[in-house]
């Protein structure tokens, strides 16, 4: 039972980790808590769904998975949708506010507003009922007493690949360097001929894509609902805070810890109280170690 809970926790944790990386990068580079962040997951997930609906399914199921090869195209559509939303949001809302010297609190409220707009647009377009990319039911395989579904293993692998790609982007490319420089010190970065606006746009794109990936993977293993982003928001921020703001490895470990803790909580708490675990972790983190596990 415990092994099952831990494995389930790691699998949900992988999705939380992807989103938490986006949150932590946003906090470090954009310098405000983007409470609309989780809507990238919703928009990305539903963007992929729109592609699946337009194509009429995901194609014949591949091997042990529930979906066909078209899912890769759908994922690209989801990433594009969230990327577009990120750029439009920055261009229409956040850049004008930055130019006017708006404080972090104004930006936070603006992000709340944007989140409501995005969520309700999704609700309007797709309706309130849960959606799936594929209605196929997958039978779990027993691996050493633990039930695992092939889709979930794939999700874990994709999350790992995305993480590797992100580390490469941040460490090995010019734009990654620019993003890290702006996170350290925007004024100094500008003095070194780095365009902060370009770095900010890149951050929006990267974090939007991470959110969309998290949303699509969540839709693949759980289900899509218009309020899924809103429900993910607290676990995402908890993971980012727990890991330490600005730390990518911290966000990954934070995400996995939150996922496992949430799942293990059912050993001592009724299942219905599972949702308060991220909140308790966040509270404990603020009280005991405000800078997080890996914060500086």
């Amino acid at each position: 039972m415990i092994a099952q809970l831990v494995v389930d926790g790691l699998l949900t944790g992988a999705v939380i980790a992807l989103g938490a990386i986006g949150v932590t990068l946003g906090l470090a580079i954009l310098r405000f808590a983007n409470f609309g962040y989780a809507e990238f997951a919703t928009v990305g997930g539903y963007g992929a769904l729109a592609a699946v609906l337009a194509y009429g399914g995901t194609g014949a199921p591949l091997g042990p998975f529930t979906f066909g090869g078209f899912m890769a195209v759908a994922l690209a559509a989801g990433l594009a949708a969230a990327g577009l939303m990120a750029l439009i949001g920055d261009w229409a809302v956040f850049r004008p506010l930055r130019r006017r010297g708006a404080g972090p609190l104004v930006l936070i409220f603006a992000s709340f507003g944007l989140a409501l707009v995005a969520r309700n647009l999704v609700l309007l377009a797709f309706g309130p009922q849960p959606e799936y990319y594929s209605r196929e039911i997958q039978i779990a395989v027993l691996l050493g007493g633990v039930r695992v579904m092939p889709d979930q293993v794939l999700v874990l692998a994709v999350a790992g690949l995305a993480l590797a790609a992100l580390v490469w982007l941040l460490r090995r490319t010019r734009i990654g360097l620019a993003m890290r420089a702006v996170a350290e010190n925007p004024a100094l970065a500008q003095a070194c001929a780095i365009d902060p606006e370009a770095a900010i746009r890149a951050t929006w794109l990267v974090t939007g894509a991470l959110g969309a990936l998290a949303g699509t993977l969540y839709g693949l293993t759980v289900q899509l609902r218009p309020e899924m982003g809103a429900n993910l928001l607290l676990p995402l921020f908890t993971a980012a805070v727990l890991g330490g703001v600005g730390s990518v490895p911290g966000a990954v470990i934070g995400g996995l810890l939150v996922g496992v803790a949430e799942n293990l909580s059912v050993l001592v708490l009724p299942t219905s109280y599972k949702a308060i675990i991220p909140f308790l972790i966040m509270l404990a983190c603020f009280l005991l170690r405000p800078k997080g596990l890996f914060g500086r």
């Binding site: 039972m1 809970l5 389930d8 039911i137 579904m149 759980v222 289900q223 299942t271």
Partner: protein
């Protein structure tokens, strides 16, 4: 400016004073309230229930309406939440001044409305689908003052049907997943008693909260109980989510499903190939000419058979209320409450569903003759608590289609109630 305001005020005063009365007299159409979930987790079953209530009103209006006026069904969506249900009922009673409320699907919602709106406002509620025995208890304690009626038997009938469906199939040790609310926990208690009386024992029960995206943890807990079957007491969308996860995590396909899952949507969501051994329960539709009359009228209107929870009962809740509105001295709640029992006079002329049947009934009442409404659910009569008793059925799924497996008729049901000791 002040003068003009004064003139406007003086002009408006008579309206304020007499507006209400004038409206009450010229109130054509007469209003009848309905609270039904159209969206939310109960939406998929609520929508056809609302359409069927509307069909009953169409029949009443085609039959000439009530007291010289057509009836307008004022329908409000409760989204499955008691708070919104109470708001909806308050709006109907306070703003729309409806003299009665029909529909009301969720037990929790019916409880909230009865305890805080309808009884206090002296407006009768004729629920189509609220099955909780808590309302029977409230009626016995005098807390409903006779303003609560229902056309569906209480959930004890469901508990008996679940127990029969389970033990008939030789399952001795079923696990239960049930919705964590008043309805679910009451049904679970009745179910434990019923299964014990019929020679089984529940392996354990796991509650679930509505409207969650995933129930993996609950399903894992239920799997750990190692039951030889699963009794699933869940609402439609949640039930589909739980059913999918149960099957995909390797749970037994020996399923006994609640009546809210008796829909093609559920079969499509889970997949017919996993449901070959599944059984389910529901209220039975008594056979007979009155039932055929409803079925034919439903098919003529919607071009499909009336299969699904609450369709027959909501027709009866709207039709019997309309007859009572005609029978009542005046269109006020108390008169309608008393009239609801008069239109079920055992010695009266039999009145059946459909525009023609209802026309016969309305005309008979106008002529001062006694009537007895025999409805889409067959002959039924409100007992002193406003409850009805009824038969149940066990269904199964043949080649992806819903089919009736066996019917537990009224007499068998009464015998089982005695054996279980309710």
């Amino acid at each position: 400016m002040t003068k003009r305001l004064l003139i406007a005020l003086v002009g408006a005063l008579p309206l304020l004073a007499f507006g209400g009365e004038a409206r009450a007299q010229a109130a054509c159409p007469h209003k009848l309230g309905a609270v039904i979930p159209l969206t939310g987790p109960q939406g998929p079953i609520g929508k056809p229930i609302a359409d069927t209530a509307q069909l009953a009103i169409e029949h009443v209006n085609a039959a000439g309406g009530v007291k010289g006026c057509p009836i307008e069904l004022v329908l409000r969506d409760d989204t499955g939440q008691p708070t919104l249900g109470v708001d909806a009922a308050r709006y109907l009673v306070d703003v729309q001044k409806t003299p009665a409320i029909v529909g009301v699907v969720g037990s929790g919602i019916a409880l909230a409305i009865v305890s805080s709106v309808t009884t206090a406002a002296k407006v009768p509620m004729v629920s189509c689908c609220a099955v909780t025995p808590t309302l029977t208890k409230m009626a016995e304690d005098g807390k409903t003052e006779g303003y609560f009626f229902r056309t569906i038997p209480t959930s004890r009938v469901f508990a008996v049907a679940h127990a029969v469906a389970t033990t008939d199939r030789g399952y001795k040790n079923p696990a239960v997943i049930y919705v964590n609310n008043d309805f679910g926990s009451t049904l679970l208690r009745d179910l434990e008693k019923a299964i014990a009386a019929l020679g089984g024992k529940i392996a354990g029960a796991v509650p679930y909260n509505e409207n969650q995206p995933s129930y993996r943890t609950e399903v894992n807990q239920a799997l750990a109980l190692k039951g030889d079957a699963l009794i699933l007491i869940a609402f439609s969308q949640d039930g589909a989510t739980i059913g999918r996860e149960w099957i995909s995590l390797g749970g037994t396909q020996n399923l006994v499903l609640h009546n809210t899952l008796r829909s093609q949507d559920f079969i499509n969501a889970v997949g017919a190939r996993f449901l070959g051994k599944a059984a389910g329960i529901d209220n039975a539709q008594v056979a007979g000419p009155s039932v055929d009359a409803f079925n034919a009228a439903f098919k003529a209107k919607f071009n499909r058979d009336p299969v699904g929870p609450g369709l027959h009962t909501v027709y009866d809740s709207a039709a019997v209320t309309a007859l009572a509105m005609q029978q009542a001295r005046a269109l006020d709640g108390t008169a309608i409450r008393d009239a609801l029992r008069l239109v079920q006079d055992a010695a009266g002329e039999v009145v059946m569903p459909g525009a023609e049947g209802l026309k016969k009934g309305l005309d008979a009442i106008k002529a001062g003759r006694k009537v007895r409404y025999v409805g889409a659910t067959g002959p039924f009569g409100f007992d002193k608590n406003g409850d009805v008793s009824g038969p149940a059925l066990v269904w199964k799924i043949d080649d992806g289609k819903l089919a009736t497996d066996k019917v537990i008729d009224l007499e068998q049901m009464a015998a089982l109630f005695r054996r279980i000791g309710y």
